[in-house]
C-alpha cells in the first residue's frame, strides 16, 4: 500500500452558481492580479479552474529556468523573479490553467494562498465561496489506481454539470 494525502481545492460543479466571488477574492488578495482561470465554454458553463498542483507536474518539467518548482508540501510554486515569460509551461499544462499576466508578461498561477495556509486558514477563494462549491480538503489515495480515480474527479470536465 502506498498511501498518500494531499490537501487540495476541490470544486463541486453541482453547487457553483458562477458568482465570481472566488475570482474577485483571488484578484484582490494577490494585489489585483489574476491567478485563477475560468472555464467559459458555453452559456451554461462559467466556473473557476484551479491549478491542480499535479503530482508529476508537466509545467515544472517544461520550465527552462526553474521558475516553477514542486515544494515538499505538494504546492507547485511559481517564482516570479526567475520567470522569463517564455510560456513553455502554459503549453505543457494539460488543464490550461496557466496564463500570461498582461502587464509583466510572465505567467500567473494559483499559489494556494500559502501565506494564509501558514496562518491555519483556507485559501481565499475557498473561504469566500458563497455556495460551498469550493472546499479545501485532504485527499487520500491508497494506491495508484485510487489516485487515478481521485485525479479524475478533481479534473472532472466542467461541462459534466
Amino acid at each position: 500500500m502506498n498511501e498518500t494525502t494531499e490537501t487540495r481545492i476541490v470544486l463541486d460543479i453541482d453547487r457553483c452558481i458562477s458568482c465570481h466571488a472566488c475570482d474577485i477574492a483571488c484578484y484582490e488578495s494577490h494585489n489585483v492580479k489574476y491567478n485563477l482561470t475560468r472555464a467559459n465554454f458555453d452559456i451554461t458553463v462559467d466556473m473557476p479552474l484551479h491549478c491542480k498542483h499535479c503530482k508529476e507536474a508537466s509545467c515544472v518539467a517544461a520550465c527552462p529556468v526553474e521558475a516553477l518548482m514542486k515544494r515538499e508540501d505538494g504546492l507547485v510554486y511559481h517564482n516570479s523573479f526567475r520567470c522569463i515569460g517564455c510560456l513553455s509551461c502554459t503549453y505543457a499544462c494539460p488543464f490550461g490553467v496557466l496564463k500570461s499576466e498582461r502587464v509583466r508578461h510572465i505567467i500567473s498561477k494559483c499559489d494556494l494562498c500559502y501565506d494564509r495556509l501558514e496562518e491555519g486558514r483556507e485559501p481565499r477563494c475557498v473561504e469566500t465561496c458563497t455556495s460551498g462549491a469550493l472546499t479545501y480538503i485532504p485527499i487520500t489515495a491508497r494506491d495508484e489506481g485510487e489516485r487515478i480515480r481521485v485525479d479524475a474527479r478533481l479534473k472532472a470536465k466542467p461541462w459534466r454539470r
Binding site: R15, I17, S18, C19, H20, A21, D23, I24, A25, Y27, E28, S29, V32, N40, F41, D42, I43, T44, V45, D46, D115, R121, E127, T128, C129, T130, S131, G132, R161
Partner: protein
C-alpha cells in the same frame, strides 16, 4: 509603535450583512508589503462566504479615488465654510413647506436615519425618501427570516434571482434543496437567472408576474379561475399554477422569498402583498431580501412611500433643494441630468471622487468606517461592530447631518436608535390583466438585472480595478437571436425614454436563459438606468418592469 489591528464588522453591501474581519497590518512597520496592508477574512460565525461585492471592500477603503475634501462645483472648500453656506441656503429654501427633499441610501445606520428625519423636520419638509428605489416596496413587510431555519426547510419558492442579488444565501438554499429527497426549490422570474440550474423554473412574460401570482392565490383559495394561461401569453401552461400550489400546500416548513432589482419586476408592491397572502394561506414563511444593507430599518424610520412625490416634485419644478445622503443623484435617479436645472440647491455625500458634480459634495464613509446599529434580515437590531477610522477628511453622514442641523437651528442633536416597525401599507388596487400589444416599432422587451459583481451604484463599479478591466456597461440578449440578427459587437438600444450604445456582454456571464425578444442590461450604470422610466402609473413604485425597446446596429 502600534501593532496589527483586527476589526470585526458587517459587510456593507447588502442586506445579508455577512460577518467579516478586516485586519490591518502594522502601519508603522518599516517593511513594505503584506506586513502593513489590510487583509479581509470571512468571519467563522458566517458560514455563508462572502459575495463578489464584499470582496471589494478593502479596495474601496484604500481607493485612491476616495473623496477627502468638500467640493463645491468641482472646487475644494473648507468643511465649516461649506456647512455654513449650506445651512444659510437651506434655511432660506425651507421657509416654504416641502421645498426641500431628502433622499437617504439604505446603507446607513438607524441613528443616521433618525437624524435625517430630524433634519427633515427642521427643513419644514415631509419629503424624505429611501433609495435604492426598488427597496421601497418592501417597507410594509414584517420579515419572517431565519438563517438557521432556512437551510432545514423542505420547500423554497423564490421570486426573483436571489443567487444574483444576494449570492451568500445560495449555500443555505442549496443545502435545503439537497438535504432530503423530495425537497423543492421553485423559481419564478421573467428571465432565467443564476438559480435556474438548481430549481424548477417558471419563466413568465415580463410585466405579468403580479397577474400570475394573483391567479396562483385564487387557485390556492379554491377560487379556480378557468384561465387558459397559454392564451394570455404568459408563456407558461396552467399546470404550473397547480404544481406551485401543490408544493406550497404540502410543505411543512416552507419559505417564500422575494428579491428585486431596479427595472426588473413591475408592480413590486402588489407582488409582495400577494406573496405575503399566499404564505399566510399556505402556512409558509415569507421574507423579502432588500438590495441595500439596512433599507428595512431606514425606510421604516423615515416612514411613508414618498419617492413618487419626490421625483414628480423635482420634475414639475416644485422642489428647490435636493439633499442625498450616501449616493450621487446622478447615479440613482434616471435622467437626473435632464432636470437638475430645476433645482437651485443640491447637496450630496459620497465616498468616491466626482469632479464634475454640480453642487455641494461631502466626503462620506463606508459602513465599516462607522459605528451604529442596523436591522438584520431576521428583524433584530444588531451593531456594526468595531469601526475602522475614516479616511482623512471623510465624515460619516451622521456627523454631517448633525452639523447641518446645528448650522440651521444652532442646537446640538443626539443620535439614538429605537424600535422600528413596518410602516402602514398603502392601498394597492386591483390586479388587472396586463395589456400586451405587439409594437412593431419597439419589438424588444428591455429588463434590468443585477449582476453579482457590480455594486448598486455604477460609480463604485467603475472605480474598482477588476470591473475596470472587465469593462461595462453592456447588454445581453438571447444568443441564437443575436447570431441570427448578425449585429456587431455594439448595439444601440432605443426606448421611449432614451437610447444607449452598448457592447454585447460575454454571454457566459449573463443569467442563463434569456427568452427571444428580450434584452437585459445591468441597471447599475447611468447609461442603462436612463433607458427606464422614472415612475409607473399602476402602483406608483419606482421600479418599472418591462420597457419596450428596439435594437439598432
Amino acid at each position: 509603535m502600534s501593532s496589527s489591528e483586527e476589526y470585526r464588522t458587517k459587510c456593507p453591501f447588502c442586506s445579508v450583512q455577512d460577518d467579516i474581519i478586516i485586519k490591518r497590518g502594522n502601519p508603522n512597520s518599516a517593511l513594505f508589503g503584506r506586513e502593513n496592508l489590510f487583509q479581509l477574512y470571512v468571519d467563522v460565525k458566517s458560514d455563508r462566504g462572502l459575495c463578489p461585492r464584499g470582496n471589494f471592500v478593502i479596495e474601496l477603503i484604500t481607493s485612491p479615488y476616495r473623496l477627502r475634501k468638500v467640493m463645491v462645483n468641482g472646487k475644494a472648500e473648507d468643511l465649516s465654510d461649506a456647512i455654513k453656506e449650506c445651512s444659510t441656503k437651506l434655511k432660506k429654501i425651507a421657509e416654504k413647506r416641502n421645498e426641500v427633499v431628502i433622499l437617504i441610501g439604505g446603507n446607513h445606520t438607524l441613528e443616521e436615519a433618525y437624524l435625517a428625519k430630524e433634519l427633515a423636520e427642521k427643513l419644514n419638509t415631509e419629503l424624505i425618501g429611501l433609495f435604492p428605489f426598488e427597496d421601497e416596496a418592501l417597507l410594509s413587510i414584517k420579515n419572517d427570516f431565519s438563517f438557521n431555519e432556512i437551510s432545514s426547510s423542505d420547500t423554497i419558492f423564490t421570486v426573483g434571482d436571489i443567487f444574483s442579488h444576494s449570492p451568500t444565501l445560495s449555500k443555505l438554499i442549496i443545502d435545503a434543496r439537497n438535504r432530503e429527497r423530495g425537497n423543492s426549490l421553485l423559481y419564478l422570474d421573467i428571465i432565467g437567472g443564476r438559480i435556474s440550474p438548481f430549481a424548477e423554473s417558471y419563466i413568465i412574460k415580463p410585466g405579468y408576474t403580479a397577474y400570475f401570482i394573483s391567479i396562483l392565490l385564487d387557485y390556492i383559495n379554491n377560487n379556480k379561475r378557468k384561465i387558459e394561461l397559454e392564451k394570455t401569453r404568459i408563456d407558461v401552461p396552467y399546470s404550473s399554477i397547480e404544481e406551485i400550489a401543490a408544493t406550497l400546500n404540502k410543505s411543512k416548513n416552507g419559505w417564500i422569498l422575494f428579491s428585486n432589482i431596479y427595472g426588473h419586476f413591475k408592480n413590486p408592491l402588489l407582488i409582495v402583498s400577494l406573496l405575503e397572502e399566499i404564505a399566510s394561506v399556505t402556512d409558509n414563511h415569507f421574507a423579502v431580501i432588500p438590495v441595500a444593507q439596512n433599507s428595512l430599518g431606514i425606510g421604516r424610520i423615515i416612514g411613508g412611500f414618498n419617492n413618487e412625490k419626490i421625483i414628480k416634485g423635482i420634475k414639475n419644478k416644485e422642489i428647490k433643494g435636493l439633499i442625498s445622503f450616501g449616493g450621487l443623484p446622478t447615479e440613482f435617479i434616471p435622467g437626473f441630468d435632464d432636470f437638475k436645472k430645476n433645482l437651485s440647491f443640491v447637496l450630496s455625500s459620497t465616498i468616491l471622487r466626482k469632479d464634475d458634480f454640480t453642487g455641494y459634495l461631502f466626503p462620506s464613509t463606508l459602513s465599516v468606517e462607522k459605528q451604529g446599529s442596523i436591522i438584520s434580515l431576521e428583524e433584530e437590531i444588531v451593531t456594526l461592530g468595531k469601526s475602522l477610522s475614516p479616511v482623512p477628511g471623510a465624515i460619516s453622514d451622521g456627523v454631517l447631518i448633525s452639523k447641518l442641523i446645528k448650522g440651521i437651528t444652532g442646537q446640538e442633536v443626539k443620535a439614538y436608535a429605537g424600535k422600528v416597525e413596518p410602516i402602514e401599507r398603502k392601498s394597492i388596487g386591483e390586479v388587472s390583466v396586463p395589456i400586451s400589444e405587439v409594437d412593431e416599432e419597439y419589438p424588444f422587451t428591455l429588463i434590468g438585472v443585477g449582476l453579482p459583481y457590480h455594486h448598486g451604484s455604477g460609480e463604485l463599479t467603475r472605480m474598482t480595478n477588476w470591473n475596470k478591466e472587465r469593462g461595462g456597461p453592456y447588454l445581453f440578449l438571447n444568443p441564437s437571436q443575436y447570431k441570427e440578427m448578425g449585429f456587431g459587437k455594439k448595439i444601440k438600444i432605443v426606448t421611449h425614454y432614451s437610447s444607449s450604445l452598448l457592447p454585447v456582454g460575454n454571454l457566459s456571464e449573463s443569467p442563463y436563459e434569456i427568452p427571444e425578444g428580450v434584452v437585459i442590461v445591468p441597471t447599475h450604470y447611468t447609461e442603462c438606468m436612463k433607458l427606464f422610466p422614472l415612475e409607473v402609473d399602476s402602483d406608483r413604485i419606482l421600479s418599472p418592469g418591462a420597457v419596450k425597446a428596439r435594437l439598432e446596429q
